[in-house]
Amino acid sequence: MTRHRTFEELGAPLPSPEFRAATDAIVANIEQVIEGKTATVRLALAVLLAEGHLLIEDVPGVGKTKLAKALAKSIDCSVRRIQFTPDLLPSDVTGVSVYNQETRDFEFKPGAVFANIVVGDEINRASPKTQSALLESMEERQVTVDGATYPLQIPFMVIATQNPIEMEGTYPLPEAQRDRFTARIAMGYPDMGAELAMLDVHGRHDALDDILPVSDATAVRRMIATVRDVHVADAVKQYAVNIVTATRESGELRLGSSPRATLQLLRTARAVAALEGREFVLPDDLQALAVPVLAHRVIPTAEAQLSRRTTDAIIAELVHRLPLPSDRQPRSPYDTRTAPPRGGQQQQFGGR
């Protein structure tokens, strides 16, 4: 169970056609269960390949649990499902040391997080203490119980679902905690055709029972290696930094994105590029990912909240405006955004 997460451990990157075939198979498999949600499914897969965690936030009954389970079931790896309830204990998540009478020693009983894919359903129903036990292991990819540290497996992905509407008796994740999730997606209602198809296919029995794993942990590790290998040009890195900086400087946001967000944005962009069969990241990838990756981490100002501006809208508009960085074109002299600070000019007469 003890694994060292080194690059070699991931295995050799998959050649492009194989990668394509493998990812397409996973997507197709999930789509047998979830109707008409290709983009969401692909994004979920991208998060897995970007070594991130996914937060699915939407109203009840739109297939959140279904998607999480379908993704878990498509990959032949260890899967654990935790139904979060108010009485769930941290040790249920991380594990506990129990005294073994035979060996006369403490023995570690691993909790639910010791799996490749952990489905945390209704995560906002658990107490903050339990929530944070999960969230810590998500970030550190290891669990420390009674002084002993136990690393988690690769791949390790938490797919959490939460319902934002019914707030009674819930402990909503604080924004700082949400930062641990690479992306937040909303399922959204299926369109009419998809809903009809759902009635036909899933009317009688659960399609989840029909599907079989189409990939395994080893393949996923190699896929991750492939994703890590995707090229990111300097201009794209600059663009990522610019986007994140823009969230920090926006007048509508009280809290901008963290450097962790920058990192995860680029990682997810790599995964998306790879899923599209590209060997390099495009600014378009970043644009497409800005909302799912950044919107759940930022906090709008009171005014923005009052005018009912969602963070999704704020981030989308921000990205829409931000010019592409280009090393070939000098910065426009009329660019009034984020002027580089000039040596203390502001403070010169500041002592008045």
């Binding site: 829409h320 009329y334 008045r352």
Partner: protein, 826 residues
């Protein structure tokens, strides 16, 4: 604050530039140095005050102060406090400078020397323009309005100078105005931060937006105004002169209120025209009724006499010519004949007064835009000029003998208008002279004759057209002393002396006889322009008396009431003299000149040929200069197109690459498959060039561009919104794929037919664009203009930034605020 400072600087610069055409008015550039100093002082003070966060009126007030100090310093009267603070004496000095300037204006032909009055006037004018431009452009943020004062000073040289002039200062002035407009437009947009289109897309700085449209309208207005002023200078010299003359003549005081001060131009017009290098045909007169001895063709008269000389009185009366002309009220004993002449004016004479023979009874073929004023017998219009007019005039000729006039009763001074023309401003020289000349003369006629005879060569008077710019000045007292002058001075001096003798007189302007004759048709040129005096006799009205020596001018005509004037009789051969291409019609060929050859500098008989040759050379040089200027203008207008063409060629050549190399290329591969080449910088720059060309083409054809948009998104937009299809769609997809790889991939693509792709897209844009867009894309490509505007504005803001930084440094060094702050803290 920084933008205001930037604009302050530019407003001052633009105001100064707009004054540059004054270069044509002055001989030296002292005026420019002085004006520059004053404007610089004003600008500096405005910058200072604007950096202090003073109230809005403060910079303007400070500019007034700085301008005043500058003017005082440059024109000190030794009455200032501390040598620089203006005192009441200073303002008196300024007043006297202004009044000398306005007197001298009538006396000096351009280019003028560094007369203190003129210098003061010019500096004051530039300072006032700088102040108003700053007020409009910086305080009120209405730079288009700032164009008005700029236009005013800009157009001074156009109305003042009659010679063809250098166009470079005019071009610089126009550039100044455009600079102001462009910068303000940019600043105005910057004040709002970034701009977005309706759908929230961020737009490029120079992309049209409602705001930019306003700016463009202002810009167009500015260019139009510039062109209106500039246009005369893009035409042959003759037109310029006639326009100048028209502007000058037009102000003879027509209409209520009168256009004061323009009468100066009557004299200026005369001296300017007489001093021109070549003769231009102005009037063709056909003597229909065979008048044996027609008098001068007359168009205007000056009736008001002040210490500054004769001025036009605003004409208040007058009826449209269609309602008929009142017959002259002759005494029944006077023998009269009726004559008829048909007159044709050329394009070269564009004035608001109609040349007619005196005592007209009927005007034909002239519409009711023209009015007849019986008291001055002037036919005038406030709407039309005489250019290209053709009309006939019927007029009476009276045989009046000297004895008739001797018997004429004394002038009744009950008529207020007449009484006004019977007094002269006090002048001791004139007073003594008149007393001496009229001593012992009892009748008005004899007094007139006696004064008339004073202006003969026997008394030392010499005809000289070059006195316009004489250093001694040519006010009438000076003329009486120096005894050198040309017809206008003779006429004015004679009139002045008559008024001193309580005899009503006025100065008439028109054409003497002469020119070339063909049968009954006589052609009059600018050299035939003439001025003479009219004297009022009770019962006879206004009678012309020409005091200019008849031998000095070609077409002098004797009158029946002065049969044997002291001046010599006319030699008909003289009538051609004024056609000489020389400003001095007085010639050694005239009988009088033989007695006084040394006093007629300039033309002496035989040099006529060489003068002609020289003037041919000169006109060739002028023509060459103009065509060179024209070429330059065309080159200037075409340069955006040329620049665009060159960029396009180099880009497309580079995009086409060095041809199929040894490596794999797309040409050989099957369509749609591209070949990756190892990190190939050349391939990347090919792609960039092709993409840049695509973006510029979009700009040229008014397809929106967006620097927040990825190549991929651009293509999607071009295909969905701009509906590119088929080859154009394939082309644009290819371009974007290649550019995407060049920008973001490890290895760029190569071998695509980028060049033809760009051409296909361009063709598609052109096919959908309106004709105007298509033409503009070729002639004035927006992509080039946008880049130029951006760089202009970038450089000028960089300059102002540097200035501001220097300023801040200075402030830190002086640290007034800190001292004050510290004190305040205590």
């Amino acid at each position: 604050m920084n933008q205001r400072k930037h604009l302050t600087l530019i407003a001052a610069g633009a105001a100064f530039l707009s004054a540059l055409p004054l270069w044509n008015v002055f001989e030296k550039s002292t005026w420019a140095i002085q004006s520059f100093l004053v404007v610089a002082a004003m600008c500096g003070v405005a910058l200072l005050v604007r950096s202090l966060r003073a109230p809005t009126w403060a910079p303007t007030a400070a500019m007034v102060g700085a301008g005043l100090l500058g003017l005082t310093w440059l024109n000190s009267s030794s009455e200032e406090y501390l040598g620089i603070i203006p005192s009441p004496g200073t303002f008196k000095h300024f007043g006297s400078l202004l009044s000398t300037a306005s007197t001298e204006m009538s006396e000096y032909a351009t280019p003028v020397g560094d007369r203190p009055g003129f210098l003061f006037l010019a500096t004051l004018g530039v300072a006032v323009v700088a102040l108003i431009v700053d007020l409009f452009a910086v305080v009120l943020r209405r730079p288009a309005l700032a164009g008005l004062p700029m236009l005013a000073i800009y157009s001074v040289p156009v109305t003042v100078t009659t010679e063809s002039t250098s166009w470079i200062p005019f071009a610089l002035g126009a550039v100044g105005f455009l600079w102001l407009l462009v910068t303000d437009n940019v600043d105005r947009v910057r004040r709002f931060g970034r701009r977005f289109t309706g759908d929230g897309r961020d737009v490029d700085l120079w992309e049209p937006s409602p705001l930019a449209a306003a700016g463009q309208r202002l810009g167009a207005l500015g260019i139009l105004a510039t062109l209106l002023v500039f246009l005369p200078f893009a035409m042959p010299a003759g037109v310029i002169d006639s326009i100048g003359a028209g502007a000058g003549g037009g102000g003879g005081g027509i209409g209520p209120g009168g256009k004061n001060g323009k009468q100066v131009s009557m004299f200026a017009l005369l001296s300017g025209q007489l001093n021109r290098d070549k003769a231009v045909d102005m009037v063709k007169v056909t003597n229909v009724s065979n008048d044996p001895n027609p008098y001068y063709l007359r168009f205007n008269v000056l009736e008001e006499l002040t210490s500054r000389g004769f001025n036009a009185k605003p004409i208040t009366g007058g009826k449209p010519v269609g309602s008929g002309l009142p017959a002259p009220g002759w005494d029944p004993s006077v023998k009269t004949t009726t004559q008829k002449a048909s007159i044709e004016i050329s394009n070269e004479l564009a004035i608001y007064f109609l040349p007619i023979y005196t005592w007209p009874t009927k005007l034909e073929k002239i519409d009711n835009n023209w009015s007849f004023d019986p008291s001055t017998t002037v036919v005038f219009s406030s709407k039309q000029t005489t250019a290209k007019k053709k009309y006939t005039v019927e007029y009476t000729r009276a045989e009046i003998t000297p004895d008739d006039l001797r018997k004429a009763p004394a002038v009744k001074d009950t008529d207020a208008a007449l009484r006004g023309m019977m007094t002269a401003p006090a002048n001791n020289v004139v007073k003594e002279k008149v007393a001496e000349l009229t001593k012992g003369q009892t009748t008005q006629y004899d007094k007139v004759k006696s004064i008339y005879e004073y202006f003969t060569q026997a008394n030392g008077f010499v005809y000289d057209t070059s006195t316009g710019g004489d250093s001694s000045g040519t006010s009438i007292a000076d003329f009486l002393k120096n005894k050198r002058g040309y017809c206008a001075q003779y006429a004015a001096a004679f009139g002045w002396l008559l008024r001193e003798a309580k005899i009503p007189s006025r100065v008439a302007f028109g054409f003497a006889r002469g020119g070339t004759r063909q049968g009954q048709t006589m052609t009059l040129t600018n050299f035939n322009l003439h001025a003479w005096t009219e004297v009022y006799f009770q019962g006879y009205g206004w009678l012309p008396f020409d005091a200019t020596p008849s031998q000095a001018i070609g077409g002098s005509v004797a009158t029946s009431y002065l049969p044997s004037a002291a001046n010599d009789t006319i030699d008909p051969a003289d009538e051609n003299l004024r056609n000489r291409p020389n400003g001095n019609p007085s010639s050694s060929a005239g009988p009088g000149a033989v007695s006084d050859p040394g006093n007629n500098p300039g033309d002496t008989g035989g040099v006529g040929g060489s003068v002609n040759g020289a003037s041919l050379l000169k006109s060739l040089a002028v023509a060459g200069g103009w065509s060179l200027g024209g070429l330059l203008l065309v080159a200037l207008l075409l340069s955006p197109a040329l620049v665009r063409g060159r960029t396009r060629r180099t880009r497309l050549q580079s995009a086409a690459g060095p041809g199929p190399g040894p490596g794999p290329s797309l040409d050989k591969a099957e369509p749609g498959v591209m070949v990756l080449v190892a990190n190939d910088q050349a391939a990347r720059s090919q792609a960039h060039h092709a993409w840049d060309e695509l973006v510029d083409t979009m700009v040229d054809y008014n397809v929106p561009t967006d620097d927040a948009e990825t190549p991929r998104a651009t293509v999607t937009r071009l295909v969905t919104k701009e509906r590119l299809r088929d080859r154009a769609e394939q082309g644009v997809r290819l371009l974007s794929t290649v550019e995407e790889h060049a920008r973001y991939a490890r290895n760029p693509l190569t071998g695509g037919q980028l060049r033809s792709a760009v051409d296909d897209v361009r063709a598609a844009f052109a096919a959908r664009a309106s004709r105007k867009t298509r033409v503009l894309a070729v002639i004035l490509p927006p992509s080039v203009l946008r880049r130029w505007r951006a760089s202009t504005s970038q450089h000028s803001s960089a300059a102002s930034l540097r200035l501001g930084q220097g300023w801040d440094k200075l402030m830190r060094a002086i640290s007034v605020r800190r001292v004050v702050a510290r004190r305040a803290d205590r």
